[in-house]
Symmetry: C2
Amino acid sequence: MSSNSPKPNNRTILLFFFFFISLIFPFFLPVFVNSSRTLSLHKSKLRFDDGQNLTFLWPLPSQFTSGNQTLTVDPNLSFVFSGNGGRSSYIVEEAFQRYKNIIFKYSSKVSKSGVVYDLQKLNVIVHSDNDELQLGVDESYSLLVAKNYEHSIIGEITIEANSVYGALRGLETLSQLCVFDYGAKTVLVFKAPWFIQDKPRFEFRGLSLDTSRHYYPVDVIKQVIESMSYAKLNVFHWHILDEESFPLEVPRYPNLWRGAYTKWERYTVEDAQEIVSFAKMRGINVMAEVDVPGHAESWGKGYPDLWPSSSCTEPLDVSKNFTFDVISGILADMREIFPFKLFHLGGDEVNTDCWNSTPHVKQWLQDHNMTTKDAYQYFVLRAQEIALSHNWTPVNWEETFNAFPSKLNPQTVVHNWLGPGVCPKAVAKGFRCIFSNQGVWYLDHLDVPWDDVYFAEPLEGIKDASEQQLVLGGEVCMWSETADPSNAQQTIWPRAAAAAERLWSNRDATSATDTNSSTLNRLEYFRCLLTRRGIPAAPVRNHYGRSPPTGPGSCYVQ
Amino acid sequence: MSSNSPKPNNRTILLFFFFFISLIFPFFLPVFVNSSRTLSLHKSKLRFDDGQNLTFLWPLPSQFTSGNQTLTVDPNLSFVFSGNGGRSSYIVEEAFQRYKNIIFKYSSKVSKSGVVYDLQKLNVIVHSDNDELQLGVDESYSLLVAKNYEHSIIGEITIEANSVYGALRGLETLSQLCVFDYGAKTVLVFKAPWFIQDKPRFEFRGLSLDTSRHYYPVDVIKQVIESMSYAKLNVFHWHILDEESFPLEVPRYPNLWRGAYTKWERYTVEDAQEIVSFAKMRGINVMAEVDVPGHAESWGKGYPDLWPSSSCTEPLDVSKNFTFDVISGILADMREIFPFKLFHLGGDEVNTDCWNSTPHVKQWLQDHNMTTKDAYQYFVLRAQEIALSHNWTPVNWEETFNAFPSKLNPQTVVHNWLGPGVCPKAVAKGFRCIFSNQGVWYLDHLDVPWDDVYFAEPLEGIKDASEQQLVLGGEVCMWSETADPSNAQQTIWPRAAAAAERLWSNRDATSATDTNSSTLNRLEYFRCLLTRRGIPAAPVRNHYGRSPPTGPGSCYVQ
């Protein structure tokens, strides 16, 4: 969406110039001749015994050409950072170490003596020194992998990007091109030379995790975020709180986390900061959610005044200023933790019966000449004002839009979930929208197979280009009623990857029905890549999400 | 079994002397008075909102006393190694760093200024400099955690052990005593002072993983081994090969791993060495298995001559010397990887029909005047000879014992699986035995609840003390027909922990039926500890193994 192609520097222009020259003049670099071609993955016949046909990438880059060379990669691959992005180079340097560990995991850690490797150096060029991670940050990158010939200046591996976050995406792509060859015991890049120019289709590519229905230790949240980066997802929507538990420390209201299940199932401010920082190092934003006025019963364990009464405990008491003081306090404390521009205010599934049945609230409604429906609107809008006062853009679940579209702050991002057709209505009224249709993108719906996830389309029903621009992207949701640290990752993966490609890759290249079988093979390859990285991704062909394989067999065909 | 209590050095004798003096003379160290007592976990009422009642250990140490003090632990805890075990101190030092990361995961990484912590130093005393890890290695240790009083020399944390592997067990116990307090944001030890003298009940406490029915990447195997160390299991039985796939590289017969599912689902020699080394650093032996003559169909993909015929492919062809040459070659190559004294030769579930129906094998049987039953015995014994020639102690599944007990090499370790009652028969004939009754200790039997695993008893039916000594221990088995990297860990945990306590802890302290409810709470606590360490252990109260929680709730009560 908002991503631009990186502006190449002179050296890179020269590299790419020679690269394209080589395509035009066969005699110049004969090895490239007849080999570079647009990879037509859905036409290639998959043979799992033939590595050279199998350089799969997930999600599919927007533009790429490849050849038919096989290049060796030096385990001592060196790293050179250049460009104006020096201030933020630590982000790329740390990522380089992570990816080096991934790429050379199964290989000898040192170069073999006497062996001259084709690829010995990785150049990363970053043009901007702004390392602020935000919605719409430039994630585009170019990646060139080509052999260094004696009489050619084409050489090494080059990633060029406008921001460090684009460089991170390029590193992920590079890591997927590098395959350990068990015969030669060497890391190889098949089908070189590669020239990839890539950028995301949508700027918001999210995954939510509900840490209220079950508590997830910080290490597990980090595992989820780490795995998101492998699929180039970029927003971790942290549904921290809900009616069942309030695990987060709020210094201004220190009794709130008494609503945690136990004294250990909690997140300190430092825990949350660490999660945000861990995510930023992987180019992933953290969008926090404080769901009001429903889904908030747990708040009252620390402050019972937030309940309409001790016997009628949801939604939050709309009649008291104290309620909004607490929301203000929570948001003020969270503002210091979560720098992301979007803040989720929930607003879904509000049953207002308690307001009507609790005498003092009912009286308040009468005094203010409000129905419960009016009071719901009043609550949501007042919460929006608090978020806006903290310079946050409010996100609300679609019920708020469905109930009072003309009253919502125009900055509001409408978060679809109930079904199809909401984003078209929201963007028609000028709102931005996030697509999470539960029929396809709720990961706890275990009966949704990978292809239903894959072929879901955030722009479905939106023809107008300017309206399409208002769809920020989409999000798969991991609700935790029956998921916990023991099974969330295999509920998330591989189906979240299907959505990740939908959100990253060109619609045309990934929408034709005849891509189905090759996409399936590519997704199976990615699922096995996840397991190699220690992520317990479930078999792709499962009839139900996260179910076990039905019998012995290869990872690549299950 | 073979573990002895560590021989304390003078300094430690002094420490322990003062500790016990304090118990006898209340005025000497009054804080210990009336507080140190043998912890009676099954009598304590569990309150999850009260950390001080909740210092749970798993598996239960053999002897321990505790008090009622709460001590703070310095995030900059220093580490001092002493004793004769200097040569092997790197094992403890690396473990100290691992455990420091675990203990201070949720805490500030640096000491708070102005705060004086009660526990600032960890002394580890190791008496032996022999770091060879073998069956029966001394895993005993003493652990003293007590406050440093101005006029007392009692101080710090002291772990004393005869071997580095005992010190590792002590570090695990210490890590379980350290609890992060979310209120104070400090790591605390409740119920101090602690004095623990601990050693395992059985010397063989195993977990097997079948990497043939599904391939497990090296990282996943490491995750399994790491988690085993948390439950003080000490033998990783690697069922590498089976009829479905042959993933291991065998330099002497380089076509064998053509029997892998794909060219990526393989283990190089270096991979296997890395697994052995990773396990050793955690005090875990790796027992490799080459299952013959059945369960070996995959061998013939590289060497079809190993099959009786191309249409009748199991068991291995008993009639050819080539078959035994290949076994010799495999074992010779594996001997360089696996230093553990025990080597598993399988021998189970052999259907000899192919031998009878393949003309050249049938002819060979007739020439040698053998029935197929004789040939099965001939094969097993010849394989045993090969293992013995490599100075390996052969382990065989119980079918070999059931079929020809008097012929087996007397060194043979009989591995029970089919049902109860085998170990009593085996030890009565002087064989050693490993207990893995499938009705209780096969983890792929998902209908076995935690308490059936827990109350299984390896010495069931064995009264004679000298015969009891022949039971090396037991093993829980993770077969992979319907398990793979996406779900093995939650199939293994928490039920493997139930077996781990049976194998480590005193029978008396863990066998009474009235321990049931407190044991359940302690196991739930351990399950949550595993999730905190990033291990996806399933809810304890699941009706079926590895099934999801049935609704929202705390980790500690599911």
